[in-house]
Symmetry: C3
């Protein structure tokens, strides 16, 4: 995520203007909000869980939102800005930089494409926004909507009634009918009477040769991206929440759901209706049985089943009881 | 539900004409079919489960379809009409009053809105039926369909490929792409070769500040309404069956399903892929873990997990075995 | 499946040209690929599982792709073509006969129907392909797409945002909004970097009086058809994978999922969010509880619940532990 082509960024802001109630001294300009591994010296980053202490070690950011408990995981050159709720403060700051990313507004640039894409085959009544790029030999089905700045590679087959926004689609990607990709995710600070929506400034990346079944939903990242790896196939009605990263050559069967921010390795196969909780790390070559509920990290090569998912042998032993 | 703006009502009917095979005497005019708590003295009501004996005590209705077993829960002034199957008789009677509510017919009044809504922003190819009201600053996305008599408040953000029928949407409501809201539910009397469809004469109400994720389905009520409370957020691919009532400030994660007629309290959070069986009462401040299957009523403050869902401590104890 | 009206067939091919690396001798012409029970003497068939040894006994085919382990289940007149992976070879051969069935291409014949269907009521912006037949009094909702060669019977009610391709819809069928029916299924040979997609040359058949809830997905068969029986009702967000055959008078509640090739009997009721694994045989009059995961064949009259699903009594006993 070098520059954000989907959302206009405000700023820079002086650090002490971002946090009126927190004393951070000095007149330092902050240009953007980024995850630990993507932040530069001019950016603000954040550390809200021990899951990310490895990334914290190597961050280039000089300022990091975090808690009293986590502050010692930061490198010396990175100053901790201690808060009670990292997510609440992060939400507020991100809303200052990106005031239009908490709701999916109407793309008013949408038009029926005419002569602009001579090498693309369009169905009827396709709408395409400004600044889209679509590679040669790509097909786009009827009543589908490609919003502004979306990039689509070559030889893609995109079905009907599809919505693509805030997304980068590589080559040879198949997206079946009814998919809604790149919408804002389910992220907010719960407040009585009016929740505070977390801005979603990330995008969705579908890598080469991936395939998405019909009526799937893939939300864009909040900060950071949602990624489907190369040659990974999703069956129908799969739900992929914000910031999930799925590796290469995976098979995800029908109605599987991924909660936010989990990272799935390569060559992973997941049976129908299984669920993966949020913020987990699933290794390479993992097999997850249909209907399982995964609530813990899984090392490479795990074969699990059940709710909560346990190693297959243990599941079979328990089932016999 | 004072008057039904979505379905034309026939009648009044004489009580003894409604039930040819049941002797109910007298020439009494019945004007409508209503649930126990909404019925007036001119309406017929019904009692088919001990879940509703509290509401039965206070009904104003003078006639009630019920069974031999339940008849004594009715107040003295309310005459029981004893039948073998309340639902079967109710279905037949409701079909007499509302002959067009068992199937979702084409709304032939749909048109592209022109000058009628100067304060609303429409995407491309939106269709709006007759008698709709849409509040100022509301956005409606591409290829969405707002059928006749639907009411939409101010500052709502409605996505693309959405269908809204038989619905009342309050202010500041967000509905993401692909949602189908207000369709008839999954209610019928099973009969070999040709099921008898139960009329769905209720509506869907989405209260202020609620949010519905992409590709959700929310069916309208059969008799009575389906309601999503204030500031309640639903993630993607959630299914809400007919007559479900969800309270305020709830968080419902992705792919959760609610069977018909359950009532959910306020401040309830439900993890991804959980299911709530039909005709249950879930209290306030309840937390239901992801993937759980709730098959019993839950008192206020419950924290449950598992299939069937049990208190969290019990679930953890069982999981360790 | 007599002749395939949805996919153009190449050939005939000489048997020894279909398998360059396998010696099958003689100049025999093969005209098509068919399942054991549908194949004629000119067709190639396949046997890849002991599930199908009964059908194997009676096949008319003279040549059958199979394995060393299964070859003895074939009748004497049927010559086994021994391969390591039946699916891999079947995939390759099917791709030769049907080179356009592994991807859902754009139907370029789609047009707004004008005077062609005077007895059908269309919503706005319906698209219909060439050679479609639609029976009288059928309704088709807004923005729906009926692709070429699809057959629809009389008195059907088809909602908005529906896609129908490679399908035969009988009479009095209801399909609610957002359904995607007849798309290619989730079938492929996993290969690193570029999976090999299995052609889907089958269709979807929805029999008389069946009903499909909103946002369901029903994939067409790969070889053979996907079938929903007479008077069978599906609730919202149900996923039916390729080749599944559901009998008559079944009730399938919301968010149920069927993996590929399972066969479900008549009068089966399945509770919400249950899942049925692939290649199973579920008998008549079976009841499957909500949220269950069925991983074994079930005889007639079974009542099961749980994950994995077990007889109800056993489930209740285990739950009490």
């Amino acid at each position: 995520m070098s520059t954000n082509i989907f959302f206009e960024r405000k700023g820079p802001f002086l650090l002490n203007k971002l946090f009126s109630s927190i004393s951070v001294g000095k007149k330092i300009k902050i240009f953007d909000i980024k995850p630990l591994d993507e932040a530069n010296t001019n950016d603000l980053t954040f550390l809200d869980s021990t899951n990310y202490i490895e990334a914290a070690k190597y961050t280039k950011a000089l300022f990091c939102l975090t808690t009293e408990r986590l502050k010692d995981y930061l490198p010396k050159k990175c100053k901790a800005i201690i808060v009670k709720s990292v997510l609440f403060e992060l939400c507020n700051v991100t809303r200052k930089f990106y005031p239009n990313a908490d709701i999916d507004n109407l793309d008013q640039s949408l038009k029926t494409p005419k002569r602009k894409f001579p090498t693309v085959k369009f169905g009827n009544n396709v709408l395409v926004g400004k600044n889209c790029k679509i590679g040669k030999n790509t097909l786009i089905g009827n009543y589908s909507i490609i919003e502004q700045n979306v990039l689509i590679g070559e030889n893609c087959v995109i079905g009907s009634h599809v919505v693509l926004k805030n997304s980068q689609i590589e080559n040879n990607v198949v997206i079946q009918d009814g998919c809604k990709i790149g919408l804002k995710g389910f992220g907010f600070i719960p407040l009585n009477n009016k929740n505070l929506r977390f801005p979603h400034i990330g995008k969705v990346i579908l890598k080469n040769n991936s395939e998405i079944g019909s009526n799937c939903t893939i939300d864009r990242g909040s900060i950071g991206d949602t990624i489907i790896g190369k040659n990974t196939f999703l069956d129908n009605q799969v739900h992929v929440a914000h910031n999930v990263k799925i590796g290469d050559n995976c098979m995800i069967a029908g109605q599987v759901g991924f909660a936010g921010s989990s990272i799935i390795g390569n060559n992973v196969s997941i049976g129908g209706q299984a669920g993966v909780s949020g913020h987990l790390k699933i290794g390479n070559n993992v097999k997850i049985g249909g209907g399982s509920g995964v609530v813990n990290n899984l090392p490479d090569g795990s074969i699990v089943m059940g709710y909560p998912a346990v190693p297959l042998k243990e599941f079979l032993r328990k089932s016999k009881k």
